[in-house]
């Protein structure tokens, strides 16, 4: 079968364009959408921790996390309606569920001294999840996990008065903008 140089160029252009659209539409299981969603949750949650009293901030966190879980389930259902994945992919959801249960258990046992300490402890568990996901499935998540952990540790140990603000801007921002970057540039 013979084709011209131009036809070959056009065919390759079609392949690249369709693959780019497919990856963007399905976003590899919704990963970038989850990052952006939880970036927004973190931003407002930590911002509340900086400017509101402890009780109001705690309620705000519960509402935000509840909304985040509902939105994550909706994203997951939307993606899985379009693409069926092998059974092992569902283990990811179970892993996060287990991690959150262990984080809550750790908070209950350790009885952290302040709201910042609770937030720092939960941040460590969540970032451990990112690192595991990165090692397991998709490398950049591990780097995001390590980066946010470093920022959180520096904020908690050296500038505790601004820990929440740092986490809102750098932690929430890192999650949101890495998700948005991946969505625009993933090929």
């Amino acid at each position: 079968m013979d084709i011209t140089h131009e036809e070959a160029k056009e065919s390759l252009k079609i392949v690249e364009e369709v693959q780019r659209r497919a990856r963007k539409a399905l976003a590899h299981g919704g990963g970038p959408y989850y990052l952006m969603l939880w970036g927004v949750v973190w931003f407002f949650g930590y911002l509340g921790g900086q400017f509101l009293n402890e009780k109001t901030s705690g309620i705000l966190w519960m509402v935000l996390v509840g909304l985040g879980i509902v939105a994550s389930v909706v994203i997951g259902a939307w993606i899985s309606k379009q693409v069926r994945r092998p059974l092992h992919d569902y283990r990811i959801g179970l892993f996060w569920l287990a991690l959150l249960l262990y984080a809550n258990l750790a908070v209950w046992v350790a009885k952290p001294v302040s709201g910042e300490a609770v937030a720092f402890l939960i941040t460590l568990f969540v970032m451990l999840g990112y690192v595991v996901m990165g090692l397991w499935m998709w490398g950049p998540l591990a780097w995001i996990g390590v980066g946010v952990t470093v920022v959180a540790t520096i904020g908690y140990l050296w500038v505790p008065g601004y820990f929440n603000l740092i986490m809102a801007i750098l932690g929430g921002g890192a999650l949101f903008f890495s998700g948005s970057y991946i969505l625009r540039n993933w090929r």
Partner: protein, 96 residues
């Protein structure tokens, strides 16, 4: 001369194969999602899928989800290999 696959070369089938190979191994795409992604009609997509299925390049599974019929399509290992070979041949023509 590079070997091009005449089954895959047809533009709609090329798009189908490009979309399906963008998924991870063993993943299946819903018929409606594939149709929307490619912007083709049900009949057109169905006809081209049959050709690809006859060639052993795609596998089609019809299932019921919450009592509604769904058709899921996936690329077979033979199809993935043929598509990769086709793309390689296109690149060879362009001297890439």
């Amino acid at each position: 001369m590079a070997e091009l696959d005449p089954i895959i070369h047809q533009p709609v089938r090329l798009k189908i194969m490009a979309a399906l190979t963008a998924l991870s191994d063993d993943s299946q795409m819903d018929f409606v999602a594939l149709r929307n992604l490619l912007g083709v009609t049900d009949g057109n997509l169905g006809a081209h899928l049959r050709k690809l299925e006859d060639a052993g390049y795609v596998s089609i599974e019809k299932v019921f989800v919450a009592r509604k019929p769904h058709t899921y399509i996936s690329v077979t290992p033979k199809g993935r290999e043929a598509f990769e070979g086709h793309v390689k041949s296109l690149k060879k023509i362009l001297g890439k």
